[in-house]
């Protein structure tokens, strides 16, 4: 594929130009935004150091609610990480053409979300300086971690997911990196030559020969097939952190499918929330169109219905089981001290997404953007409700208690959003945010081409 730029007026050339053109040049707005994000991350770092120095008591968690906002954030970010692999791997295997413009951003989101989620198990440790006790490393005391503990399963599930997602993302990037390298050929100045070298190394000598393409397509397909079960397994394992405990409100067989659906639900919502400002800022409106939002709206609706069903099924089982402890836990969840979060969760996750039944709303990007923000809020509260209300109201009424997050927890939560956005914004300016290769394939196959809104679809 020597000379990708080729004839400048073909649609292929336009794709390269549009997508690569969005890179590197950062305006004042972008720099200010990055500065603000760095400031928030810095403040969260201060809060964490403060917590390490003075103890977990600086956070609001207490007896009996020993897990609070930190684990809520952990589950929330792992959930966000799910849409990436779903869109990339599962939709790839299903040959869904509409994924091509959002898969790169969604995969990047996955990786940054896992990077964010992975911090919280550390942040919530009472003695974070001994975090390596959780890893099965050889030591002279012959001590191993406890493989019966769901937290160890988490350790493996998350690290596996991160590795596979990273490799999958990177292998998808290789042809695009080569396109950029070719575009940069003969760049001037120290910075230009550095960029050329860097993208050259990262594209691993890609030359676009037929053999390379054949191997590449095979490898990508297999990686998609390997990544697919992980979409189901990772959040199932995270849900077992709760389902394996005997705590009423947690101990439930529905948790794995319920969490997986919730993860995809929140992940799709986050893709919508991020892609709307992102396509506008990078001038990629022609690439992510109503057609794509329509499809994402459908996925959002489907997963919302599954999540809503799970909420109802949980209540039905609590009542039908005849277990007074379980029933009291669920009654209190809806009507007790945490009624507010419960109502937010129900409204945002079950009622508001029903609007997606209307095609007009699904194709109205502003409306879908607002809905997706509600879903993000609702899914955060869902995890909060599950974790906090179950722990606060357990078997022993004498040990019931309440939990209120402290400034340390809120700062670190804000910092996690800033950390995630920081990486995402860095990505948007350094790597092609839309897969150049796959968009071109879509054009060639006649599935879709830039600017096409598929009104009649």
């Amino acid at each position: 594929m020597a000379g990708v730029a080729g004839p400048t007026r073909t649609p292929f050339a336009r794709v390269s130009r549009d997508i690569i053109g969005a890179l590197w040049d950062s305006d004042l707005r972008y720099r200010m935004m990055m500065l603000i994000l760095l400031a928030v991350i810095g403040w969260a770092g201060v809060a964490w150091i403060y917590q390490i120095k003075y103890g977990m008591g600086t956070a609001g968690i207490t007896h009996p609610v020993m897990w609070g906002v930190y684990i809520t954030n952990f589950v929330f970010w792992v959930g966000i990480a799910h849409s990436g692999t779903l869109i990339s791997a599962i939709l790839y295997l299903l040959r869904s053409g509409w994924r091509t413009t959002i898969n790169r951003a969604a995969e990047a989101m996955t990786i940054f979300a896992v990077m964010t989620a992975g911090l919280f198990p550390l942040i919530h440790l009472g003695r974070v300086w001994y975090f390596y006790f959780l890893a099965p490393y050889p030591n002279q005391r012959l001590l191993w971690p406890n493989f019966r503990s769901p937290l160890i399963w988490d350790f493996f599930a998350i690290s596996t997911y991160f590795t596979i997602s990273l490799l999958f993302w990177y292998s998808g990037l290789i042809p695009d990196l080569a396109t950029i390298r070719d575009k940069l050929k003969g760049a001037h100045g120290l910075w230009g030559r550095f960029k050329e070298k860097l993208y050259g190394y990262l594209s691993l000598g890609w030359a676009g020969t037929d053999t390379q393409w054949r191997h590449y397509r095979r490898a990508y397909l297999y990686m998609a097939a390997i990544a697919t079960p992980l979409v189901l397994s990772v959040h199932s394992v995270v849900s077992w952190d709760f389902a394996m405990a005997i705590t009423p409100g947690w101990h439930s067989t529905i948790f794995a499918p319920y969490f997986v659906a919730g993860a995809i639900f929140s992940g799709i919502a986050m893709v919508i929330t991020l892609s709307v400002p992102f396509r506008w800022a990078l001038g990629l409106e022609d690439y992510i169109t109503e057609y794509h939002y329509d499809n994402m709206g459908k996925l959002l609706l489907l997963t919302s219905l599954i999540v809503g069903y799970a909420y109802i099924a949980e209540y039905f089982m609590a009542w039908y089981s005849g277990d007074p402890v379980e029933w009291e836990s669920f009654r209190w969840r809806a009507l007790g001290d945490y009624m507010g979060p419960f109502v937010i969760m129900m409204t945002c996750n079950v009622i508001i997404p029903l609007l997606c039944f209307w095609r007009k709303i699904r194709r109205n990007i502003a409306a879908l953007f607002v809905i997706s923000i509600f879903v993000n809020i609702g899914m955060w509260y869902e995890r909060f409700v599950i974790i906090v209300t179950s722990l606060a109201h357990e078997y022993s009424p004498g040990a019931w208690g309440l939990y209120k997050p402290s400034w340390v927890e809120l700062s670190i939560t804000a910092g996690s959003f800033a950390w995630f956005l920081f990486w995402f914004m860095l990505f948007a300016k350094t790597l092609p945010a839309i897969s150049i290769t796959e968009v071109k394939e879509s054009i060639a196959e006649g599935v879709w081409s830039p600017g096409d809104k598929k009104e009649e679809a």
């Binding site: 003075y54 103890g55 440790l125 009472g126 503990s149 937290l151 009424p397 004498g398 040990a399 309440l402």
Partner: protein, 399 residues
Amino acid sequence: MHPAVAERLGVSTGDLVAVSSPHGQLEAPAFVYHGVRPDTVAIPIGQGHEHFGRWARGRGVNPLALLPAAADEASGATAWLTTQVALAVTGERVTLVSTQGSHDDLGREIAEVVSVGAAAEAEEQARQAIADEPGALVEAAEDADPKSPYRWGMAIDLSSCIGCSACVTACYAENNIPVVGAELCAQGREMAWLRVESYYEHLSEGEHGNGHVDAQAAEDESAVPHVVHLPAMCQHCGNAPCEPVCPVYATYHNPEGLNIQVYNRCVGTRYCSNNCPYKARRFEWFDYDFPFPLNLQLNPDVTVREKGVMEKCTFCVQRIMKARNDANAEGRDVSDGEVTTACAQTCPAEAIAFGNLRDPNSRVSRLARAGRAYHMLGELNTRPAVTYLKAVSRGSEEG
């Protein structure tokens, strides 16, 4: 004060109430409580000191200020019970700290009560069973290494417990438990390994689904529920929910059936506490100070824990170790009564018995086979080493 009185005055827990008698006046925060007669207010004695220096200043009130100087004619003693007082609302509020979430056990097999008749019948059957099989062991005795001569256990008679909390104090002193103060207790950060919970005897009837005592309508003012005191600590379960969830084996089952917490190994995920149905585990939220001279009373046999680790009742493992070492040195097993926990040693009513469940003749084994014996939340199949003996109801028909 009783909820009916509180309702008449329009006060709730924490409202400052002025109490006056012909002899004096004081102000104290109201604590609304079913366990007191509706025509009575109760004020604990022993607080309100004026001459004990800075630590005692501003703590509580001295109800002696309300009493007449002369002795009560009928009893010849100070008029503790016969002084009449008037109550007035002051409109101010203070934060009252309570370490108990709810006083209603919702019929959950926590604070069990039996009638006298049922208790007598059960005890008769149990005596018969012991006579038939004198060497039989209780089920909890199985949960230790088969080669171990010991399975440490405890039996607590709720009928004997008077709720004085001497056991709690003994536990604090023995195990170097930090005293954290009212502010942290209000956040739920009390560090007590052993707590005395109080539950109303009757409230569980027909009141499922309502966890809050203050919502209980005091329909019948004369109905004063009896209170059952329940010393609750780590149950040293044979099938402990805390053990499998720890990712680093910081909590595990030792060969003598104890549920052991290894402070050095604990990283502080706090999962064990979340999975403990008894909520017996405490977490070191901070590094707590023992300022001079309190450091001098620390027990040298017990670790002072650092921030970020989980801790809980150990059955005074340091005493067990010492007794076992002494016995081993003499080539014999630890005999009954040779080792006891700080709480059992201190209990003035001898409500707590500690010993070896593998010795069928030990006091704890005999009590564990009593007719009133039950396990707290036994339906969870945690196989606790602590056996409770149901309180015998002072009511008429409670079964």
